[in-house]
């Protein structure tokens, strides 16, 4: 009596009760499919977030106005709320640029939304005032035309560089270089179009418009960009030339800001200074936790499926008591009966597991096709789901199989 014969006997027993076997398997199928699909969605979200943060630029440090918020693990204080929000001034940028020197490129920007008109088309767009280093710091490359120059800022030229999406929206397939658009009623000429960056975890990075920062202050931003008589910034991005310079630069930036805003070391900073790697680890930490949570929820349904298998196998043992008695009467040993029922349970859970993997994979494909996010079915997750299905089959199969194997032949034969 080898394993193959046991498997054949199991298949025959399962085939004798097709509907019941199918329904029992359904529990495992749904459980495994849920694990595979949810883990794939989680893994897809994680890698989406990672790539979109990495897409922001290399060795990036961002400074923005706002209450100090440190990502978990980012410092001895942990998360700190409260304290006064500080405005980030254009003069802060000048001081920081001077303080960090050649260690980093410093890119100040002010972002607002404005009404953009091109002929009959009118829409609200995010319009950002930038300096020439913006492209390099934020990892944008030009598809055509030129970027905003130092001269554009000095002379406050009315020129605009379009994101690939903005260009497509406003001009379709036409070449926009040299054409005019109106931003809040002011006419700007298009001098460049950016390459598409693609969308990552959050929104598109391509539906933007870039204008010279100084032009923005004088022509577009108006009173919104002035606080206490000084021009303000939405943020400053810094790109460190060396990765090991990131932490010293953060210290320099924080020190400069404290000095300029009259804050002591014990005061809350009132600015948000963070590096890309901090954001990366914080956000991917969050999304891995979410993935694990999703997986845990799916695992519960797998567990329920396993209990369903045990339930059915107990019924089956009871129903086939006489058959078990007969098998023992003609010489079947205890272990053979044990193995027979164990193989039956394993067949249910393994076949259910395989179907569940296919179903989960199909769901993941469907989610990807819907365009919400790219679900990634990883070999790890498939193995994990399949392994747990098999383990559950083994675990929940042992008790019914043990019951069957322990029956006294004569009592089993007389069972009504």
């Amino acid at each position: 009596m080898n394993l193959f014969e046991n498997f054949r006997i199991a298949l025959r027993a399962l085939a004798a009760n097709k509907l019941r076997s199918g329904l029992t398997m359904l529990g495992i199928i749904i459980g495994v499919a849920a694990v595979v699909a949810l883990m794939a969605v989680g893994a897809g979200a994680t890698s989406g977030i990672t790539s979109s943060i990495e897409g922001l630029g290399t060795n990036l440090i961002t400074v923005s106005s706002g209450r100090s918020f440190q990502f978990s693990g980012g410092g001895p204080g942990g998360q700190q709320f409260g304290g006064q929000s500080q405005s980030l001034y254009y003069s802060d940028f000048q001081a920081i640029e001077k303080a960090v020197g050649s260690a980093a490129e410093v890119s100040p920007y002010y972002q607002t939304s404005a009404n953009v008109i091109n002929g009959g088309l009118s829409a609200s767009y995010s319009v950002t005032g930038v300096t020439p280093v913006y492209a390099a710091v934020s990892a944008y490359t030009l598809a055509r035309g030129r970027f905003i120059s130092e001269n554009d800022n000095v002379s406050e030229s009315r020129v605009v560089v379009l994101g690939s999406q903005s260009s497509a929206d406003l001009f379709g397939g036409l070449n926009p270089i040299g054409r005019k658009i109106q931003i809040d009623g002011i006419t700007f000429s298009v001098v460049g179009v950016l390459d598409a960056k693609g969308s990552g975890g959050f929104g598109s990075a391509d539906d933007l418009m870039l204008i010279p920062l100084q032009t923005g202050y004088t022509r577009i931003f108006g009173g919104r960009a002035v606080s206490g008589g000084q021009r303000v910034l939405s943020g400053i991005s810094l790109s460190a030339l060396q990765a090991d310079q990131i932490d010293p630069i953060i210290s320099t930036v924080e020190y400069t800001l404290r000095k300029r805003h009259g804050l002591t070391l014990t005061d809350d900073l009132g600015f948000n200074v963070s590096s890309q790697s901090q954001m990366l680890s914080a956000l991917s930490g969050v999304s891995s936790t979410l993935t694990a949570l999703l997986g845990a929820i799916a695992a519960i349904s797998l567990l329920v499926g396993g209990i369903g298998i045990m339930n059915i196998m107990l019924v089956s043992v009871r129903e086939r008591t006489r058959e078990i008695g007969l098998r023992k009467a003609v010489g079947a040993r205890r272990n053979v009966i044990l193995l027979q029922f164990l193989v039956e349970t394993l067949t249910l859970s393994v076949v259910g597991g395989l179907v569940g993997i296919l179903l989960g994979w199909a769901i993941a494909m469907l989610v990807s096709a819907s365009g919400l996010l790219t679900a990634q079915v990883t070999a790890d997750n498939v193995l994990l789901a399949f392994g747990s299905a098999a383990l559950i089959g083994l675990f929940f199969g042992i008790y019914p199989a043990y019951q069957a194997a322990g029956l006294r032949p004569i009592e089993a034969l007389r069972y009504e």
Binding site: M1, E5, A16, R322, E323, G325, L326, R327, K328, A329, V330, G331, A332, R333, R334, V336, R408, P409, I410, L413
Partner: protein, 252 residues
């Protein structure tokens, strides 16, 4: 040779004890054909189950070919059941939706016989019981007599030395029952198989060379039959009269 000495089997029914077997001693020689009779609850089936190693006695000795059975564990008993004993049941106990051939194959499956030999041996056993042409019929497509023949083939397939049958004709009409008894007689004479069967029917019992009567768990009569009936003999009108004392030789 089968020997049991001072066999006791106690069942607990709540607080009271029931002695299904109460001090039974019996010796059956190789090649004997014997019937066990007795009213319901007299312990016939319990005795058969113990002889067939399907159950174990509460107390007492059981030796088969000089080998003691009492101390054997589950697996050793399974081995004895598989090699030395063929068991036939009143309800046939065939696997449903399974062909005659595969039913007969079953004991060989558990004995580790190779696939090819298996089929050949099962076919031989089915031919022995006269079902060589119905091997592929499913058990529910066979008549009661045919089903019992399949069950007998299954009991024979491992070439046991003892065939035990618990009311083998109980679910069959008298004609089919007589055919089964005829098959037993043939197996006993041609193969020298030791055959013990339980029956309620004195006419069926009369076909053996020895009749043991049980009552309340004790052997009350153990007689040799001078002239066993041949299979196919007409059933007399007076069934009780069949076992007339003058036809039987009293043991000792």
């Amino acid at each position: 040779m089968i020997e049991v000495e001072n066999l006791i089997k106690v069942y607990r029914m709540g607080t009271s004890k029931v002695f299904a077997l109460n001090d039974v001693s019996l010796k059956v020689e190789d090649g004997e054909m014997m019937a066990i009779m007795g009213p319901s609850g007299s312990g016939k089936s319990t005795l058969m189950a113990i002889l067939g190693c399907l159950d174990i006695p509460t107390r007492g000795a059981y030796r088969m070919d000089g080998e003691s059975m009492e101390k054997m564990n589950d697996n050793q008993l399974a081995h004895i059941r598989s090699h030395k004993i063929g068991f036939v049941f009143q309800q046939f106990n065939l696997l449903p939706r399974t062909s005659a051939l595969e039913n007969v194959l079953l004991p060989l499956l558990y004995d580790g016989v190779k696939g090819k030999d298996r089929k050949a041996r099962a076919m031989t056993a089915l031919e022995t019981v006269g079902l060589g042409d119905r091997t592929q019929h499913k058990s529910n497509q066979l008549s009661g007599g045919e089903q019992q023949r399949v069950a007998i083939a299954r009991a024979l397939v491992n070439n046991p030395s003892i065939l035990l049958a618990d009311e083998p004709t109980g679910n069959l009409d008298s004609h089919t029952g007589a055919e089964i008894v005829g098959l037993f007689q043939r197996l006993n004479r041609e193969k020298g198989l030791t055959i013990i069967y339980v029956t309620h029917d004195p006419f069926i019992a009369r076909h053996t060379g020895r009749i043991v009567q049980l009552e309340d768990g004790k052997i009350v009569r153990d007689v040799h039959v001078k002239k066993p009936l041949e299979a196919g003999s007409p059933r007399p009108d007076d069934i009780i009269g069949v076992v007339k004392v003058e036809d039987l030789a009293l043991e000792n």
